[in-house]
Symmetry: C2
Subunit: 313 residues, 2 copies
Amino acid sequence: MPNPAIAAADWGTSHLRVWLLDADGNALAERRSAEGLLAVKPGGFSDVLESHLDAMGAPATLSVIICGMAGSRQGWIEAPYVFVPASVGDILAGAVTAPGARRDVRIIPGIAQRDESAPDVMRGEETQLAGIAELSVGSHLVCMPGTHSKWVETNDGTVSGFGSWLTGELFSLLSRQSILRHSLGESPASVLPDNATFRHWCANALSEGGDIGAHLFRIRASSLLLDLSPADAAAALSGLLIGAEIASAGRRFAGVGGPVTLVASSSLAKLYEAALNMAGREVRIVDGDAVVRAGLFAAARHNGMIGSIGTQA
Amino acid sequence: MPNPAIAAADWGTSHLRVWLLDADGNALAERRSAEGLLAVKPGGFSDVLESHLDAMGAPATLSVIICGMAGSRQGWIEAPYVFVPASVGDILAGAVTAPGARRDVRIIPGIAQRDESAPDVMRGEETQLAGIAELSVGSHLVCMPGTHSKWVETNDGTVSGFGSWLTGELFSLLSRQSILRHSLGESPASVLPDNATFRHWCANALSEGGDIGAHLFRIRASSLLLDLSPADAAAALSGLLIGAEIASAGRRFAGVGGPVTLVASSSLAKLYEAALNMAGREVRIVDGDAVVRAGLFAAARHNGMIGSIGTQA
């Protein structure tokens, strides 16, 4: 393995991913773990990090740049939010040094929108934004689907506003714990973007501007009265929630035209692409893993953490 | 105790209520129990019913009329849905005799809307409708809030259409199991209808036509950034979900004017009344307990179950 220039970690609530990156930001090694914030004992962050660096053979002096919930009040150390509007440079400059580490470890702050009518926060996704080169010029609308989907408006590299939708969490709660679980069955099937039921329910949600209330119980009733299969019930719920998110976010960010930059991978990217196309939006897909690494690498550079170490040994 | 004319039961998924009614439909005795559908062993319905009748001192020959999920496929016996449009008489005439009972026991069917674009079902609420005398003349919009709120359009005593909203279930899931639980705290405070936070979030949901997606995460962000208290977070979620339901149902049943008949009791009635008033609707509140008893009594009469028994002994 060539010498790594920096170690980088995306440390969220329920997951930890660590990479060793070379001087060009390419991944030399990767570790994935379920040791997210919730699984780490108080004071235990440094030990968990060292165990992964050790397993990857990282040099003892290699610096580490981290993004995600590790920088929240419940994490390793609170990296205070940077308030939007803020440039990517402003955000990266807010990185704080983690206490009690055995090496130079810094954590990138999240961003916050202190707006009485639309307060919002994110931790982790701001680093993905920093990894998307295209955002540095022009106006863009970025969609980052997930447990809590984020939609972000950027102008010449500045985050001007953003919003969060609970789409992934709603799917999980409704499919496993609501009355709809009887329709979806034990393990909801994965949904394909050309599924006619997905498209039908997505179109309904788009045409009703994001109102899911009138539709949810119809999934249960369709099972009872119209023989909707469990697989199609999952497709219906997925189409309904994704369509509603896109209708709602589209209204919120109606002023931002052009293709939507979709930060996602594999199956979720395809579903959102299909739904965005149905809403009349072009899509440019970027891989979520690639841009978080690129953003972490940019942050390390911005904070002067890459240099002599990369050429050592 | 005067002699009862009939025993009546509302037997739902998670509750059982049994009354002894006199020849005018007045309650002589009442039992409430958690022995809903989910708590009754297969074949055990008759025993559970008899234990409550026995505890109330009901004569051995007293007939029983039942509504609710006891008439579903998972219940005592399936009382096949009556399809709408259907008159109250059509619905009550569908009562089926429960097998294996030690006396005359009949179960009122639910109703179903076999409409490809808006399939829906209910079991139990149709009996409340049968207990509201005002519905026999003119057009009415009835709102029955709860775990799965029902909205019903009636014309001269005929149910012409209805819809279900998961409002109560969404409040329960979101307040206890989503990211919002961190904002609402362990036991969400009860919400009062003059709470300014309730009214503010309700107004937002009403003005956005039922789109809750853009708002849910703002409750969490308001705790983090704007010091929203746990009690106000509960008020916000309640206002948001109730406002969204009313906006959505109001659009669905836009053709039905006049006051909304609100079937609810105490605190929930007051919240829905406040929200409906904010939406510009007048409200006529009827008590849910009283109308289910009245509907059960009407069903017993309709099925010829009340007569000589009431004057026996």
